[in-house]
């Protein structure tokens, strides 16, 4: 067959590329559902009208408390107030026995990265969506996908296996932080973030 060699080579390229672009993400990431489904939209929409910081608070010393503790949910959901099966599970399996919900945190950073929310939100005035995207208006929680090798959430790298994205809020790796700092005229040294 004419040009057989070239065709085999091109077929190889296609095979390798497919493995890298298509199949590799499936192999790399595990998928685990969150322990409960949670609708940000219900809580922030017209029904409840809450804002991000109603639950994702700062402590009096400025420390960001992150994912709210159980007592924040129990403040309203000490008993079921809706008809959602997940709300019922929240009350029965977590609030009533006082057991914290083992949420999987999409944006967990390594210990060697020091990120103060207070400096970015209070001082720099960044909106939550700038880094966390439309998460606050989501109607359900995405499946948590963890990198089998590094252990971190897929959200840190970004949905696209290449790491590139047209969405400003996708990805939470260091290069993104550095680029944003540079865009905003912040000249920081290593020790500012890696204390």
């Amino acid at each position: 067959m004419k040009h057989r060699g070239i065709l085999m080579f091109l077929a190889g390229i296609a095979l390798g590329a497919s493995a890298g672009w298509v199949f590799f993400p499936f192999a790399l990431y595990t998928s685990e559902p969150q322990p409960l489904q949670f609708s940000h939209k219900v809580h922030t929409g017209e029904q409840a009208g809450m804002t991000c910081d109603n639950c994702h608070e700062f402590a009096s010393d400025g420390k960001f408390l992150g994912v709210p503790a159980l007592d924040k949910c129990a403040g309203c959901h000490s008993a079921t107030i809706g008809s959602s099966p997940d709300e019922k599970r929240l009350v029965d399996e977590f609030v009533t026995p006082g057991k914290p919900v083992p949420w999987k945190v999409y944006s967990r950073q390594p210990d060697n990265a020091y990120f103060p929310h207070a400096a970015h939100v209070k001082l720099a005035g960044l909106a939550c969506e700038e880094c966390h995207g439309p998460h606050g208006s989501s109607d359900s929680l995405r499946v948590y996908q963890a990198n089998r090798v590094s252990g971190y959430s897929r959200d840190i790298w970004g949905r696209n296996i290449s790491g590139f994205s047209t969405l400003a809020w996708e990805g939470m790796k260091m290069d993104k932080c550095v680029r944003c700092h540079a865009d905003k005229g912040r000249a920081d040294g290593c020790i500012d973030c890696h204390k």
Partner: protein
């Protein structure tokens, strides 16, 4: 289509290229790097509640209070304690990283023997039980009587409760010595106490209302005493009308920061002090109250009037007008005169210390505030059944059978050569207690590992010349490390091995508790509580338990000033002989070692500070030779060049740093801080620089004649 081998190879090649053009290999590389950060052997940051705990640094005699920010009970950062009435919130770079010392790369895991037969010394692990058995045998034979050899303990932080335990232990031997270095920042107060006709008890330096501080070589603005208090005085000096005068050859930080610096010819401190005394006498600047406090005052005046000011000027290089100006200044308003030691240069000789101390007597009698003051003794100070303290340099050479070197650091060098000189030639043994393989410990025959800072309960050191006693606890911040006990546990085990009576207190907690109980029972003083920044009088405390509780929460006890101290008279020991001074030979140079407190050849600094020192020029490093440009040029040297210094005892290469403020004909060579990497656990480096220096019979090594040339 039949596939042949060539087809498969092309397919494989294409696949490889396709994979390379995909994110797979690059993403895996990136993720693998992150994966290595998660290995179990990678140290992890602590997680847990954030708490603030109080403790105190024990790396030198200053004993600065500190607060440690802890995460999950792991100290992650330390800082000074603001508003602390004793230490004033100060903490030096060594203290700021003191919590790292438990992980020092030269940390000792077990007892070692130093084989000193090779040039660098070799470290060999030994077993604890046979070591204690051998030491016990020495104690048993020492206890039998005269001639069996003197047992000694070298204590670089005397005055602690542990110091009392050592002295009680030594009291049980017919021949024993409780040794302290000759330079502990109490040179002046010790000299005055020795001159008193009746023992006035401990004395200190009180800076209240003092208008002039005249220091002969003491680094008063660079770590001396309680550094935080001294820096606060310096910061407020304009408002207080306080001036600093430094008499010193080297352009030290204190000299340069002082209001007046008398840059003397090396070794002429005594001459300058006599010159100042002569002016005080001639111009009748000695107040009547001072005259009354000195017995044999007419004899003293006669001696002082023999001082030839012009000869003082010639020998010291200080114009007579300047000497007179200093004398007038210190006589005008309350002043204090301090004799000091360079941390690595060693102390002044005893006669010089006496003359400098004399200046205080000529200015004013001792009181309870301002100047030299009497200090209330610690309530549990034992007078009986303890060995009196003696200076290391006064011990007869080759007389000691066993010397135990306590682990506490004063911040000042102890000459390893001086230590070894005191040991019996054939069977003298030095046992050092240390958490790391320090150069001083490496001069011993055996090293017994003890706890590093913040691993065990300890007593906070306090400045030897403090105006008032203080007491606080250096509370543990780290977990205990197996095999690294405190020095008291070593003493307990040693006494058991030697069939000696056990100490009255066998744990540090019980030892320190006894001291605390004695303080509480005295009802003297006040306790500062750092958590509330308040003080409470000891007399208002309900019980000893309450006092102990305050101490365990970081509290600090401060004694009251001595009220209405009784009048003390002094007799000055008039020297009979003239001092002869050696001069540098033609082409020679005077070598003067120097260092800075806490980071001399006796100790290590933490790894991070070792790195910072080597990467910055903030402090001179070990082996830097400071020399005047003209002197350098005369010897064919330039700034940054390697030079070789030679004395009668050996040679060493140094790096030249030209300083126009240095005196011609003198080279000041820094001893420490040493790069941690120079020593290895199996081969500790020796102090080449100090070994070049001549140690005189009076224990001084400040000045050595040397030559210098290109290296």
């Amino acid at each position: 289509m039949d596939l042949n081998r060539r087809d498969l190879l092309k397919l494989a090649g294409g696949s490889a290229l396709g994979v390379i053009l995909s994110p797979l290999p690059w993403k895996l590389l990136d993720d693998s790097a992150i994966w290595t950060q998660n290995w179990s052997i990678t140290p992890k940051l602590a997680h847990g509640p954030v708490t603030l705990r109080y403790s105190a640094c024990t790396l030198c005699s200053a004993g600065c209070a500190l607060q440690a920010r802890c995460v999950g009970n792991v100290p992650v950062a330390v800082a000074g304690v603001p508003a602390h009435p004793v230490t004033r919130g100060a903490l030096c770079p060594l203290g700021l990283s003191s919590h790292h010392m438990s992980r020092h790369p030269l940390r000792l895991a077990g007892p070692v023997r130093i084989d000193g037969t090779s040039d660098r010394g070799r470290v060999e692990p030994v077993e604890m039980d046979p070591t204690f058995a051998a030491l016990g045998e020495i104690l048993r034979s020492a206890g039998k009587g005269i001639g069996a050899g003197t047992i000694a303990v070298l204590d670089r932080q005397p005055g602690r409760a542990l110091s009392m335990a050592y002295r009680q232990f030594l009291a049980g031997f017919p021949e024993a010595a409780y040794l302290v270095p000759s330079h502990l920042e109490d040179e002046t107060t010790s000299a005055l106490r020795a001159m008193a006709t009746a023992d006035p008890g401990p004395m200190g330096v009180d800076f209240t209302d003092v208008k002039t501080v005249l220091s002969f070589g003491a680094p008063v603005l660079d770590g001396w005493g309680t550094p935080g208090a001294m820096m606060e005085l310096f910061k407020e000096r304009r408002r207080l009308g306080l001036r600093f005068i430094q008499v010193e050859t080297r352009p030290s930080r204190t000299a340069i920061a002082s209001d007046r610096w008398l840059r003397i010819v090396p070794g002429t401190e005594r001459e300058v002090a006599w010159g100042i005394a002569r002016v005080l006498i001639d111009e009748k600047l000695v107040p009547p109250s001072a005259i009354r406090s000195i017995t044999d005052y007419p004899l003293l005046v006669k001696k002082i009037q023999e001082v030839d000011i012009s000869r003082v000027t010639t020998e010291s290089g200080i114009p007579s007008a300047e000497i007179a100006a200093v004398a007038r200044e210190i006589s005008r308003a309350p002043a204090v005169v301090i004799a000091g030691s360079d941390p690595a240069g060693g102390s002044l000789d005893p006669e010089t210390r006496n003359v400098i101390a004399l200046l205080n007597l000529l200015l004013a009698p001792s009181g309870s505030t301002g100047g030299i003051v009497r200090r209330g003794p610690m309530p549990d100070a034992l007078k009986e059944n303890v060995r009196p303290a003696m200076s290391l340099d006064t011990v007869p050479d080759h007389s000691l059978r066993l010397m135990i070197v306590d682990s506490a650091e004063s911040g000042y060098v102890v000459s390893p050569e001086m230590m070894r000189r005191k040991m019996r030639r054939n069977d003298g043994q030095i046992v050092a207690l240390s958490s790391t393989l320090t150069p001083l410990a490496a001069a011993a025959d055996f090293i017994i590992p003890v706890a590093a800072p913040f691993e065990k309960l300890d007593e906070t050191p306090h400045a030897p010349s403090a105006a008032r006693e203080s007491f606080s606890l250096s509370l543990p911040l780290h977990p205990e490390r197996p095999g690294a006990g405190d020095p008291l546990s070593f003493l307990v085990r040693l006494t058991a091995a030697g069939d000696r009576p056990l100490p009255e207190a066998t744990t540090m907690e019980s030892l320190l508790r006894r001291r605390a109980d004695a303080i509480q029972a005295s009802r003297r003083g006040r306790v500062y509580l750092p958590s509330s920044r308040s003080t409470v009088a000891v007399a208002d405390l309900a019980s000893a338990e309450e006092f102990w509780g305050h101490l365990q929460a970081g509290g600090c006890w401060m004694d009251d000033p001595v009220k209405s101290p009784s009048r003390v008279t002094f007799r000055f020991p008039v020297p009979q002989e003239e001092q002869t001074r050696a001069a540098a030979a033609d082409g020679g140079i005077i070598l003067m070692p120097f260092g800075w407190k806490g980071a001399t050849a006796s100790a290590h600094v933490s790894p991070i500070m070792s790195k910072l020192f080597q990467e910055s020029a903030v402090r001179d490093l070990d082996g830097i030779a400071v020399i005047a440009p003209a002197t350098a040029a005369a010897h064919g040297l330039e700034d940054g060049m390697i030079a070789r210094i030679a004395t009668a005892r050996g040679k060493k290469d140094v790096r030249v740093r030209c300083d126009a403020a240095a005196r011609d004909g003198v080279v000041h060579v820094c001893v420490g801080p040493r790069p941690n990497g120079e020593d290895t656990p199996s081969s500790p480096a020796t102090d080449e620089l100090l070994s070049l220096c001549e140690t005189a019979n009076d224990g001084t090594w400040r000045i050595t004649m040397a030559t210098i040339e290109k290296g």
